[in-house]
């Protein structure tokens, strides 16, 4: 695994060459397009700049989405970790709830939109809950696995040296499960984004999903494509931010894995 040792400019180049190539292709192939549905990339970027690259546009079109995403994803991670730790530490409880969890998590989050509307209305609250519900499951299940997979000897260490429950939780259980918690949160982030867009097509007056739907309904095809570009960029940036945090928090794990790979 040489990749992790590459310097960051090389890493960026490695990641960006394909998107750049595709954008260039898109630019040239669409340059003289007369199709209403596939306008030239140049005009798409013009409306993208107009819709998104200014404070007013960001405040109306992006900020509400970020707020929903932050609340929903945050709630999912917090709930998933807390409940996951409890279920992971009390195997009996987990055995008793496992079938229910398996059924609930099999339901696609967006399919619950109508029910959530009935339960919570169409406001911010409903959207946050919907995102949180959909994103909760990967965090929960990964946390349970993570807690269960902790080296049993470490629990014995905590008993011999008489750690309090809280100390054990924060010094052994959470760090021990953190690689799985992060893996779950990464999936949860992707799910959050999907549910965000879908939830914003109902009862919103701002945000990416609302913008997208509105553009499509008012036949503003350039803006619609621009919103897709914005969505792509948002997803990419969020993923990078997530990776930066993960790299920092799981430094030990990354290095340890690299060492295990180099000397099996």
């Amino acid at each position: 695994m040489k990749r992790s040792t590459l310097r960051w400019p090389a890493t960026v180049a490695l990641e960006l060459w394909l998107p750049v190539l595709l954008l260039a292709l898109w630019w040239f192939l669409s340059a003289r397009s007369k199709s209403v549905y596939f306008p030239p990339l140049s005009s798409i970027l013009t409306s993208f700049a107009h819709d998104w690259l200014n404070p007013a546009g960001l405040a109306k079109n992006l900020l509400p989405s970020l707020e929903l995403l932050g609340l929903g994803f945050g709630l999912a991670v917090a709930g998933g970790v807390i409940i996951g730790v409890v279920l992971g530490m009390v195997p009996r409880l987990e055995d008793a709830t496992r079938p229910l969890l398996e059924i609930l998590r099999a339901i696609p989050g967006v399919a619950l939109l109508p029910i959530f509307i009935v339960l919570f209305g169409i406001d911010v609250q409903m959207k946050v809950y919907l995102i949180a519900f959909g994103a909760f499951w990967p965090v929960l299940l990964n946390t349970i696995d993570g807690v269960r997979g902790i080296e049993p000897l470490l629990n014995e260490v905590s008993r011999v040296f008489r750690f309090s429950r809280v100390r054990r939780l924060f010094s052994i259980v959470v760090p021990g499960a953190s690689p799985q918690i992060f893996a779950g949160a990464r999936t949860a982030l992707a799910i959050s984004l999907i549910i965000l867009v879908v939830s914003e097509t109902v009862g919103a007056n701002g945000g990416i999903g609302y913008f997208l739907l509105n553009a499509q309904r008012s036949f503003a095809i350039n803006s619609m494509w621009g919103a897709i570009v914005a969505l792509g960029i948002l997803g990419y940036v969020l993923n990078i931010a997530f990776r930066v945090i993960e790299r920092y928090a799981l430094r030990w794990h990354r290095l340890q894995q690299a060492r295990l790979e180099s000397q099996p």
Binding site: L153, R159, V160, F161, R162, S171, I172, P175, W252, H253
Partner: protein, 275 residues
Amino acid sequence: MTVIGSSGTPRSSAQTESRDIALEARDLGHAYGGREVLAGVDFQVRRGTFACLVGPSGVGKTTLLRCLSGLQSSTSGSVYVGGDIVNAPMPGVALVFQDYSRSLMPWSSVLHNVMLPLRANGISKQIARAKATRALALVGLDDVAGQMYPWQLSGGMQQRVAIARALAYEPSLLLMDEPFASVDAYTRADLEDLMLTLQRELALTVVLVTHDIDEAVYLSDQVIALNGRPAQVADIVEVPLGSARDQVTTKSTAEFAELRARVHGLVRGSRGKSS
């Protein structure tokens, strides 16, 4: 069964003595599922003395140590630490695990691993750091090693981290499960002498499991030999070699050789009996 003070000592005087007994196993038995591993294990370790547990591999030394530490409740009999019956891990008792490498937290630096038990027992960060640094220095690990992750160190160094963690905790009873198994012969001799010095200076009570009979005799005030299936105390050999010991001179005395041969016979004897 040889038990200290059992040679005709009446019960009442045994009780007045109990202040001087740091650790006692009374008719201790343990079974995994239906399989008996220990049965009727009896011994006492006097306060401030060094005892080594020897016995063939698989005889139940780790099981015994786990029962003594309170990690595992015995299926019969009882353990007393400082006169109190042990039902769970007791304060002031540290254990160095045989599986030293898995007993260290991979996400914490070596220094933090050693500090954690202190922090968990309400000792301030500064003091914990000072004690941890000192303990690491005692086992020959410097600040550079302290900043590394345990899995970045060699096996022998990790083993010393586990020892340092127990020492930093400043236990009154220290239980060690083959603590020198992964270190080279020179470091091993150094660590043996370190343990002897610390044990004398701090008036520690140490119970150390080892496969190495030379080591057992060199370190011990008494060697407790286990054998049989289920395991019992075959004999307890008192080692009157005094408190000033030296790797070369002590090990070359005739007395040492004789004790060594005796313990050897006890451990080997188990093979003869069971086959």
